[in-house]
């Protein structure tokens, strides 16, 4: 009887949540910015699992990626209208909200379920921890260090697809001859900033990456190696279409999917788009982690925070949701749909495709792992870098030296 009622609730929850009249059912509004095809499919895994548990997932998707959604989410929490749960990139985005006591403490649940032992790499859980207490559930591992190449485009140009960044740069003139733009880039500023991080990791290697962004060593920041990287990045501006008017990352991914552009440097979330388009790795597209040069991945990702609620029933439901998100079957389903890697080391990923397997292989060695940008820098410093990189990318008059100096200053002065 109970089961039947729950099933009914699940089916019609989206249309009218009022019908879910079971006593234990609690409605929680969940805000997130997962709106592209692959992302929406992944969210549905969460929603279905939560609804199947008797509660109601009220979807609060905010279109326009994190830069647009975060302000809405944070101002709602500060303004005293908290949602039941919300996506954020763990790290420093929610730091102050946690300090002010606006987020639910999940430590008890985490200890009961032994999150410390199952979450891998442990830095993900550290990013959720403040003063020894856990405030968020990491749900996936995303890394930016991927380049996606269109095998169709290379076939059309009649050349071998590149195995790394240097080969890609060398192949650019041939692509141009075939009427293909080498690099697909969306205009949102975080994309340029992320792309620079990937090229920096690829050309400079993991040690330089650590020295510049974790230690923030002035010598490394302004050293010869960085000068060379800035010059290479300046040259990469010619690979983009100067009249490109695309904004979103997934529109740029579509350009690679349909073969009008040669490659895109974008995080592994782009993989979900290839899947939705029905393409498979190795036949229509290929992936080069670390640009094929440095096998290293950052471990950014998404996490869910649960703003404090007055109603104890809602608090109970929040804990149920947290437990559901990190549970084994949900982790597998969700991450397969989204193209990201699960946060648990103990799940079975036979269904993973070639690219995900490459990623998992790299993650096995802790020496290959660096923290993501959101964990290293405050949103303020990240924003300054985004402004700078976006200006540099679109303005051919800005010299690499000038941008290099401004960039080093931002990192030196960052909190």
């Amino acid at each position: 009887m109970k089961l039947k009622q729950n099933m009914v609730a699940t089916v019609i929850a989206a249309a009218s949540f009022g019908l879910a009249s079971s006593v234990s059912a609690t409605e929680l509004e969940v805000t997130h910015w997962w709106t592209s095809g692959g992302e929406a499919a992944a969210v549905k895994v969460f929603a279905d699992a939560f609804n199947a548990g008797g509660d109601t997932w009220k979807d609060g998707a905010i279109a326009g990626s994190g830069g647009v959604a975060r302000p809405v989410i944070i101002s709602r929490i500060i303004g005293g209208d908290p949602m039941g749960a919300t996506q954020l990139n763990h790290g420093r985005q929610a730091e102050e909200l946690v300090e002010e006591g606006l987020m639910l403490d999940l430590t008890e649940l985490a200890e009961k379920e032994g999150w410390k032992d199952i979450v891998r790499p442990s830095s993900l859980l550290d990013a959720c921890t403040l003063d020894g207490k856990i405030y968020c559930v990491p749900v996936n591992i995303h890394s930016f260090q991927w380049m996606w190449t269109s095998l169709q485009a290379y076939e059309k140009a009649g050349i071998e697809p590149p195995k790394d960044w240097n080969e890609f740069v060398a192949s650019a003139p041939k692509l141009r001859e075939a009427g293909i733009t080498p690099l697909a880039v969306g205009a949102q500023t975080w994309q340029t900033n992320g792309m620079f991080g990937v090229i920096r990791m690829g050309l400079g290697g993991i040690d330089l990456f650590r020295k510049t962004t974790i230690d923030r060593d002035s010598e490394a920041l302004r050293g010869e190696e960085m000068v060379a990287i800035w010059k290479a990045f300046g040259d990469a501006r010619d690979l983009d279409d100067p009249e490109n008017s695309i904004q979103n990352w997934n529109d740029a991914t579509s350009q690679v999917i349909n073969g009008s552009h040669g490659a895109q440097i974008m995080g592994d979330w782009a993989q979900g788009e290839f899947q939705v388009a029905g393409q498979t790795a190795g036949t229509e597209y290929d992936c080069l982690p670390g640009l094929g040069l440095a096998p290293a991945l950052d471990t950014g990702g998404d996490a869910f925070y649960f703003p404090n609620q007055d109603d104890p029933e809602k608090t109970e439901a929040q804990l149920r949701m947290a437990s559901m998100m990190i549970s084994k079957p949900v982790q597998v389903d969700f991450n397969l749909k989204k193209g990201s890697l699960p946060v648990r080391g103990d799940v079975d990923l036979d269904a993973a495709n070639d690219c995900m397997k490459k990623g998992l292989e790299i993650l096995k060695d802790p020496a290959n792992i660096v923290p993501g940008g959101d964990q290293l820098f405050s949103p303020d410093a990240q924003g300054q870098m985004e402004d700078l990189l976006a200006e540099f990318w679109t303005n051919p008059d800005m010299s690499p030296e000038e941008a290099h100096d401004a960039w080093a200053t931002i990192i030196e002065e960052a909190e």
Partner: protein, 313 residues
């Protein structure tokens, strides 16, 4: 009996009026205005003072009283993004002021020639004003799209080499915003101007016709000076629109390409909400407020002191 009473009351009232201090004159009107005064003091003055105070702190997402002097202002004026924003709002301001007033006035004059289908034209010109800036921005984003928009239409006509890519040009993206802003707002200026023109006494036109003055001279030397109040109202409406323009740039270019079409209001929004740097955002908004006051105070002083002289004389 009643005569004496009313006489006494008169005297009482007279002396009472005389003794009454200036502030108590028109007391009921002043009481009625009190709520508005309170709202203005708390809402505008109070919040402005609060913003200015916290612009001297290093507040991040939440206001905190850790004062850092002029550090936020130093950073603001060093920021190339802020400099670009200020230049852009100047370009946007001058262009939209000049063009919306000229085009709006010319359209109104054209409609005032007792033409046929005046209502139809008025509706067409005024219609964009019914759309929000977000919709306007999206519409123009599509129209100005280099691959599919107006450019493609012209290419289809036969000019196969035609290129129109102002949205992806660092120099011209701000003009795309101006074009969209004018398209949206000019109809409203026209409506205001038309109302002003209709308020001009027809006898003036008859007199100027009798004297053989050409119509354009009548407009410039007689009608426009008579429409001064309408112009001032329009000016205030356009000017406040310039300072707060935000949603148009968000929808049309998102500040791009590469931050070349950023505007001050977007700077404030980004730092306050997106980048968790309240101090920086409030420093920027304080500078915006100061600029507006620098323009507004001399103007208000001039405007109101003239009125006083007129009423005194």
């Amino acid at each position: 009996m009643t005569g004496t009473l009313s006489f006494i009351r008169n005297i009482e009232q007279k002396t009472w009026w005389k003794r009454r201090p200036k502030i108590l004159r028109n007391l009921s009107a002043k009481i009625a205005a009190l709520p508005m005064i309170a709202v203005a003091l708390v809402g505008f003055v109070g919040c402005s003072v609060w913003s200015i105070v916290y612009s001297f702190t290093s507040s991040k997402s939440l206001p905190k009283e850790n004062f850092v002097g002029f550090k936020q202002y130093d950073r603001l004026f060093d920021s190339s993004r802020w400099q670009v924003s200020v230049e852009n709002v100047a370009i946007y301001g001058v262009c939209s002021l000049v063009f919306s007033l000229t085009i709006g006035f010319l359209l109104a004059v054209a409609l005032d020639q007792k033409i046929r289908f005046e209502n139809t034209f008025r509706t067409i010109f005024l219609y964009p004003f019914a759309l929000s800036f977000i919709v306007t921005g999206l519409v123009w984003q599509w129209l100005l799209n280099a691959d599919f928009g107006i450019a493609q239409v012209i290419r289809d006509i036969g000019f196969t080499n035609f290129e129109l890519s102002i949205l992806s040009s660092r120099e011209y993206a701000i003009y795309a915003i101006i074009i969209a802003g004018l398209w949206q707002g000019t109809g409203f200026v026209m409506a205001l101007m038309l109302a002003g023109l209709r308020g001009i006494d027809q006898d003036i036109w008859k007199a100027s016709r009798v004297d053989g003055i050409p119509a354009w001279r009548t407009y410039i030397f007689i009608v426009i000076p008579m429409m001064k109040p309408v112009f001032i109202t329009t000016l205030v409406i356009i000017a406040s629109g310039i300072v707060k323009v935000f949603d148009l740039v968000v929808a049309l270019t998102a500040g791009g390409p590469g931050g070349s079409s950023e505007l001050p209001a977007k700077y404030v929004y980004d730092f306050m909400f997106g980048r968790a740097n309240l101090g920086q955002a409030l420093a920027a908004s304080t500078i915006m407020l100061t600029t507006v006051l620098i323009i507004l105070i001399p103007w208000a002083y001039l405007e109101f002191s003239q009125k006083k002289e007129e009423s005194n004389g």
